[in-house]
Symmetry: C2
Subunit: 204 residues, 2 copies
């Protein structure tokens, strides 16, 4: 039993990717339906039939971004030999967002957090779930690293995880205007140093 009716002439995920990149570059409010139609190569009716209204399309693009980002983070962390190498690899994967060549687009999740979260419960909830799971994954990895003495043990893993996520958010925000790739690399270097140094236990 094949599909009934006229077949869709585009791939949902491809169109979603194109929409994502427009929203990513210009933000939600500054993106018009016509901008989206141009980028996605669709007519108005097709867009509304396939994705609903502008807000719904944004949510779907955001969901896709978050899912891909989480999977990439998992891959970075789990494919490395040691926990700390995994974290380091994840940091490095972020430099692409800092690049000047990359149009200073920053992280789409942080952008959405800043522009929409305070007034948009659905966006806020998606981001809350995403950052929560990210911090959970990070905390687990840090705990392993602490067991291996790769990371300081005098601060709880959950605390370090939240700290790191907050710091990375700031780096992504600052990358939208002030920080180039090199500056971000230096910042991550500093972060790694602070995570690895440790106050010595008082020697009795």
């Amino acid at each position: 039993m094949g599909q009934v009716g006229r077949p869709r002439e585009f791939e949902i995920d491809e169109a979603l990717d194109k929409a994502l990149h427009v929203f990513w570059k210009h933000g939600y409010e500054a993106t018009s339906i016509n901008d989206l139609l141009d980028a996605m190569g669709l007519q108005k009716g097709s867009l509304y039939k396939a994705f609903g209204d502008k807000h719904s399309l944004f949510l779907q693009a955001l969901e896709r971004y978050l899912e891909m980002g989480y999977q990439q983070t998992q891959a970075c962390i789990q494919l490395q030999a040691t926990p700390i190498a995994g974290v380091q690899r994840w940091f490095e994967s972020l430099f692409g967002y800092c690049d000047q060549q990359n149009q200073k687009r920053g992280c789409f999740a942080v952008n959405a957090l800043s522009e929409l979260a305070p007034h948009d419960p659905e966006v806020a909830e998606l981001l809350r779930l995403h950052f929560d799971r990210l911090e959970l994954l990070l905390a687990k990895t840090i705990k392993k690293a602490q067991d291996k003495q790769e990371i300081r043990q005098d601060v709880a893993a959950e605390t370090l995880s939240l700290f790191i996520n907050t710091f990375v958010s700031g780096m992504m925000a600052q990358a939208k205007g002030r920080l180039d790739r090199e500056a971000c690399q230096h910042l991550v270097q500093t972060l790694m140093f602070l995570l690895q140094s440790q106050t010595p236990l008082p020697s009795v």
Copy 2:
């Protein structure tokens, strides 16, 4: 010689403050001229005569915010007994931006950085100058703190300054959706701990 012509019926700075709070709450694109007129209590012609167009008004509001923010930071730092107490006091002044009661508006400078910096050279330049002077002030303070051994000396003051500013930006961004005042306080506590602990010099 008094002023010639019909006198203005409102205070420039008061109106600018009202505009600032509208832009702060909704962002640039989501704020309409009518929103501004309502909040400022002006008619269209008066606004355009006094402030130019929407973009120009935004720049003036941003400049005012940055100037007041910088002066407040200076006050926090310089009115305390020790450098580290000054930095601590500055951190505490940020918690107001994290408060749930405060409508999750975050930091207007970080908001503007995220929404506009990549496409708006004038906004980008204002923010660059602001963050640069902020980091300079912070670096000087940290250097003093290092001399007094209040802060770790194994990382350069300029490096710590950029690190702190980046971290604070992230905290402001995350405060727009996920972090309440308590979480921000805990994060600052962690930051202070990391700044004060220090890798021991290798004992020979």
